[in-house]
């Protein structure tokens, strides 16, 4: 809190014929209103004493100051003091009148909730929301599959330009972040794995550890999570903003199906891009692991590759790649996308 442009005038108290005289002078404004209120609040007249509020030397006023003066008068009157306001310039009197006529009881804040019932309500609405969301996700999945099926039957409905552009945005542009993460994971696995395996004198098995886990599980999983977070929120923002600008409504009035125009290209783009990204992630992960194995354990690249080829079979690789599109198309990214924005909004917009 700070007081910008606070103007502080003066408050003086005096006595005249048994009357308590409060003189407010100088320039007061909203910045000093609290100070004015506490100065006036510190004044305690004798019981039954009348109070005169003299505004003659007051030079400037605003609504906050007028409100404080009004509050002070009300406070004194509620304690049984008779008050009078004298010396106010016409402009200042008009201000006090303006505030007086507009000072009416108003509820400013939403009612405070009982914390116990609030928790119960929160749990209830959360459960209900989760169930509703589950139903919506299943419905949306069905709509997406139907739309894709329509596009397969009528390939002319596929928006190729949009598809390619989404492959670029969700696939190509995700290479750096996917690469960075799996490279680091590869390094960490080699380092930590070597540390543990050294106890058995079988450091060389670090190659198997990295190779199998990267190709079979991690490359794909890391990619799916990253793309879900990255592209999922991007899709949510895009479609949410289009909904807010009534673009989705416009599409529907023009006879375009939002599912076909917006959803299908994104889903197919992810199905195409994810395996490629996952492959890339696995390779970069192996690279990171290989470098660390060389630095930490002295396993030279030639030996690393040799061990790798004996540890891995083609099926290890294929199992990993098959997972990629299964992780990818609807579940992870769409779950994130719909969760982040509230499925209802996106879905209502798309389904009507």
């Amino acid at each position: 809190m700070e007081e910008t442009n606070a103007k502080l005038g003066s408050v003086t108290t005096g006595d005249s014929d048994g009357l308590l005289v409060l003189t407010v002078g100088g320039c007061w404004n909203i910045g000093g209103a609290e100070k004015l209120e506490s100065s006036l609040g510190a004044v305690t007249p004798r019981p039954g004493q009348s109070v005169r509020l003299d505004l003659e030397p007051l030079e400037s006023i605003d609504t906050a100051v007028a409100l404080v003066l009004r509050k002070t008068i009300k406070r004194l009157e509620s304690k049984g003091h008779t008050t009078e306001l004298v010396g106010a310039r016409p402009a200042h009197a008009a201000f006090i009148d303006l505030v007086s006529t507009n000072d009416r009881p108003t509820v400013c804040h939403p009612p405070k909730e009982n914390p116990v019932t609030a928790v119960i309500e929160h749990v209830g609405s959360g459960t209900y929301g989760a169930l509703q969301e589950a139903r919506n996700v299943i419905g949306f999945l069905g709509m997406t599959l139907m739309a894709i099926a329509r596009c397969i039957v009528h390939p002319s409905r596929i928006r190729w330009t949009s598809l390619i552009s989404h492959i670029e945005h969700s696939g190509l542009n995700a290479l750096p972040i996917v690469g960075l993460l799996s490279f680091l994971i590869g390094i960490v696995m080699a380092y930590q794995g070597a540390d543990q395996l050294r106890r058995f004198g079988s450091e060389i098995f670090v190659v198997n550890l990295i190779g199998i886990s990267m190709l079979r599980e991690l490359g794909t999983l890391l990619t799916a999570i990253l793309v879900a977070g990255r592209s999922g929120s991007a899709y949510t923002a895009q479609i949410g903003s289009m909904t807010a600008h009534e673009e989705v409504d416009a599409m529907r009035t023009l006879g375009l199906s939002p599912m076909e125009v917006l959803v299908v290209p994104r889903v197919i783009a992810l199905v195409v891009a994810l395996p490629i990204l996952a492959f890339f992630a696995s390779m970069v992960g192996l690279l990171g692991g290989g470098i660390m194995a060389w630095v930490e354990l002295g396993i030279r690249p030639a030996l690393f590759i040799d061990r790798l080829s004996s540890a891995l079979t083609m099926s290890t690789f294929i199992v990993g790649m098959v997972k990629a599109p299964r992780y990818s198309p609807s579940l992870l990214p769409w779950w994130v996308a719909t969760k982040a924005f509230g499925l209802q909004v996106v879905q209502k917009a798309l389904a009507g």
């Binding site: 809190m1 700070e2 007081e3 910008t4 442009n5 404004n29 909203i30 910045g31 209103a33 609290e34 209120e37 605003d62 609504t63 906050a64 409100l67 404080v68 509050k71 008009a94 201000f95 303006l98 505030v99 006529t101 507009n102 000072d103 009416r104 009881p105 108003t106 509820v107 400013c108 804040h109 939403p110 009612p111």
Partner: protein, 255 residues
Amino acid sequence: MTDETPVIRIRGLETRFGAQVVHHNLDLDVMRGEVLGVVGGSGTGKSVLLRTIVGLIKPRSGKIEVFGQEMAQLDQMGRRAVESRWGVLFQDGALFSSLTVAQNIEVPLAEYTDLSADTMDRLAAVKISLVGLPADAGDKYPSELSGGMRKRAGLARALAMDPEMVFLDEPTAGLDPIGAADFDKLIRRLQKSLGLTVFMVTHDLDSLWAICDRIAVLAEKRVLVVGTMDTMLRHDHPWVHEYFHGPRARAATGN
């Protein structure tokens, strides 16, 4: 009503978006206590001018003085001091959607003053009443209000700090004619009772007739002409003539 020192003094303002020049060599004075209406065709940069003055857009060159202080020279504290002396009403009110109307009004109060919670609530209530909102609007959320009520609430927030000057961006756009006329009257009444200077971007000829002391016409990337309605009616620039003598203008004057 006006004195000689302008509250806003703009000299040689140049604003650009990329290669597109919006303002070139624009001069404008706004006098204390006046209602200045800024008009111009679509895309002449009326709203851009407003946003440039309040500091949302950085001008390429030129000088903007507000309350006698050059905005570009001010440090952060200096800017805050100036910003607490003006209020801005955006087109759709621009209320914070997670706060009630009263809480919206209390945002600048909590930021700039040390008022007690009770005084803030009372002051918010006064502002709500001043702009003609019903007392039960205080704890409503912006999504529960009509467009006209949102504008009134936005105006109440703009008036929270008792500013000397308010900027209004198309205050009557999107209101029905009765609502627009009421809003005009409200602005005039508040301007008189609070002694405000009003900088108003508008398309509404009725507003121009009803409440503006002076009118500034933006055209050809600058302020083409500034003056009273009489000046506008006599001006012979084709756009100005068309604007103030067109069928809608005649309807507004009642001829």
